[in-house]
């Protein structure tokens, strides 16, 4: 408690000091002559934000782009495109990209689809709020928390006693043995980098799929909440008119409601994709990127901060940035078309 109080006191002092500085600056620029007075006032208001953005986003982004063309281990050893070349060609490196692409595709599709489904089926259902709240809850547990929750789900307590599993998934899996064909023994789910037994450089490993489930579990609540709010905004008259014209529930949903909320669905999908592309915490709190589950963001961290290859790390960050841009552009274009159409 003492620590909390001292923190709060610190923050209060900080805010008062900040307010005082702003006040003094404002008073100072108010002593200037026009047009500098008004300019100065604008500066006091937007200055702090612009300063933060300039030193914290714009300059670093530019510096990172520059760094991506340097070796980084020696001072300023020009590397040309070799960092990028390594990302796409060297050894297991391309698997990181492969994983990210699958992550973006699968997590986005599933969490958006689940969001649409729940938003539709739960709409005006009894207990709607409770059900949606439960699905929304993982949003709050943090990715690290989610990683541990699911690591526990996937746990293999090992040993010979296959029925004494502490991980829910393995327990179920072993229980299913008598029912399913073949022999179901406890698995190390997060170590299996084959896709249904196939070792491929295109298909994601099973372990990556299991990690994706974590992200879907987190993101579905976001999708549900936003899409559900949009669906509640569909005018009743519209649906009623369709019903009177003879549309079935299903037809009314696919022909009227879904097109109506399409911009929202696209926005949700875009936001999810961007979040997924940057996935880092889940990897950190589960496999740490081992067993071919690495992603761009995690690899970028590892290369930059533990393996001293800042040039390579910077190149990965640039790749991430380049991947985000077209998604944003496509989304904007879609939104614009829909607004006009």
């Amino acid at each position: 408690m003492g620590q909390l109080l001292s923190t709060l006191a610190l923050v209060a002092i900080g805010i008062i000091a900040f307010g005082a500085i702003i006040g003094i600056l404002y008073w100072l620029v108010s002593q200037l002559r026009e047009p500098w007075r008004e300019r100065g006032r604008v500066g006091v208001f937007v200055g702090p934000a612009l300063l933060l953005l300039a030193i914290g986003l714009i300059y670093p982004a530019v510096a990172t782009v520059r760094m991506a063309f340097y070796k980084g281990d020696g001072p300023d050893v020009w590397a040309g495109l070799s960092n990028f070349k390594r990302i796409f060609t060297e050894g297991d490196n391309p698997l990181v990209l492969r994983n990210n692409i699958w992550w973006a595709l699968i997590v986005t599709v599933f969490s958006t689809a689940i969001g649409v489904m729940i938003a539709r089926f739960a709409d005006r259902m009894r207990g709607e709020r409770v059900a949606k709240a439960l699905i929304f809850l993982p949003t709050a547990v943090s990715m690290v928390g989610a990683g541990i929750i699911w690591k526990f789900m996937y746990a293999n307590s090992g040993g010979g006693n296959q029925s004494k599993q502490i991980g829910l998934l393995n327990w179920l899996w072993v229980k299913l043995d008598p029912i399913l064909p073949g022999k179901q023994t406890a698995q190390f789910w997060l170590q299996n980098d084959k896709f249904f037994g196939i070792k491929s450089s295109f298909l994601p490993g099973m372990n990556t799929l299991f990690l994706m489930i974590i992200m879907i579990w987190i993101q579905a609540g976001f999708a549900t909440t936003v899409i559900s709010a949009a669906m509640k905004g569909v005018p009743d008259d519209l649906v009623e008119a369709a019903k009177i014209d003879g549309a079935s529930d299903r037809q009314a949903f696919f022909r009227i409601v879904l097109p109506y909320v399409k911009p929202t669905v696209i926005t949700v999908a875009t936001t999810t994709t961007i979040a997924v592309l940057k996935v880092f915490d889940i990897i950190q709190s589960t496999t740490g990127g081992q067993f071919h589950t690495d992603t761009v963001a995690n690899d970028m961290y590892v290369k930059s901060f533990t393996q001293s290859q800042p040039g390579y790390g910077a190149a990965l960050a640039v790749v991430l940035f380049l991947a985000v841009i077209p998604i944003v552009v496509i989304n904007n274009r879609n939104q614009k078309e829909l607004r006009q159409g």
Binding site: I22, F45, A49, V226, V239, D249, A297
Partner: protein, 312 residues
Amino acid sequence: MSTVPIHAEDAAVGAVTFTDQTPLGTKLARTASGRVGRIVVWILALLWTVPTFGLLVSSFRPEKAIKTTGWWNAFGHLGDMTTKNYSQVLSTKVGGIPFSQYFWNSVKITIPAVVIPIVIAALAAYAFSWMHFKGRDWLFVVVVGLMVVPIQMCLIPLLKLFNLSWLHIGDNGFVKIWIAHAIFAMPLTIFLLKNFIGALPREVMEAARVDGASHLTIFAKLVLPLSVPALASIGIFQFLWVWSDLLVGKVFGGNAQNQPITKAVVDVVGSRGNDWQLLTAGAFIMMIVPLVVFISLQRYFVRGLLAGSVKG
């Protein structure tokens, strides 16, 4: 409706409720979900809850029980439930520091990292809404456009910048984390607050100017009080984001003294990955604050979420 009404009043009431409750609105409106839909929703809700629930139950089971039997067996032995895991994890040392200290680190990181960017962004949002200057709209587009820059792109140069010796913040991890969070929150926070502050009634702002208020007075006496709902939503948003953050804390925290609880939990995963009694309890200590905030203030959070997801 086949019974004969006894009193005229009853008939009238019946008629009213009839017309009130069975308009097309409830009978035809939407796409009624039907039984299958409802079952699907509840199954999903259950699936979505079980993992967290399992971890919560486990965190109260004795170490030996956690490691040998599934948490679903706990219901037969409710008497065995214990808080020992919690006391154990709180005193466990991670990176030479007790786990409990990381909790307070997170508190110390989060509060300023929520307050600072919101205050700064509110000032900027006011300027973008109510001050006139050349290139205002253009500048706003640039600021919002910075939302697409991934944090990852900024980490190393920013860290180098912070470590410049004349800045004297090189060894103060908290300050670095605060500033970093403030920076990364800036574009979205400005965007959301501009949407809100820009929508305040123009005539009220003008009335204040006619009454002789300066921009600073208008901001402090009118805009801030009127923006409380938006500030609350964004604040909760930012709170959950900062508390849950691992990357920024890990990169800018420096030594263990300044690391957030997420970092400690991840370290436990790395070093003692099979000590489930530590992991479960530790994870719950980490999650309890955001869960409480989230559950008690969900309405505001959703509002912020909806406002935020309108962006391009």
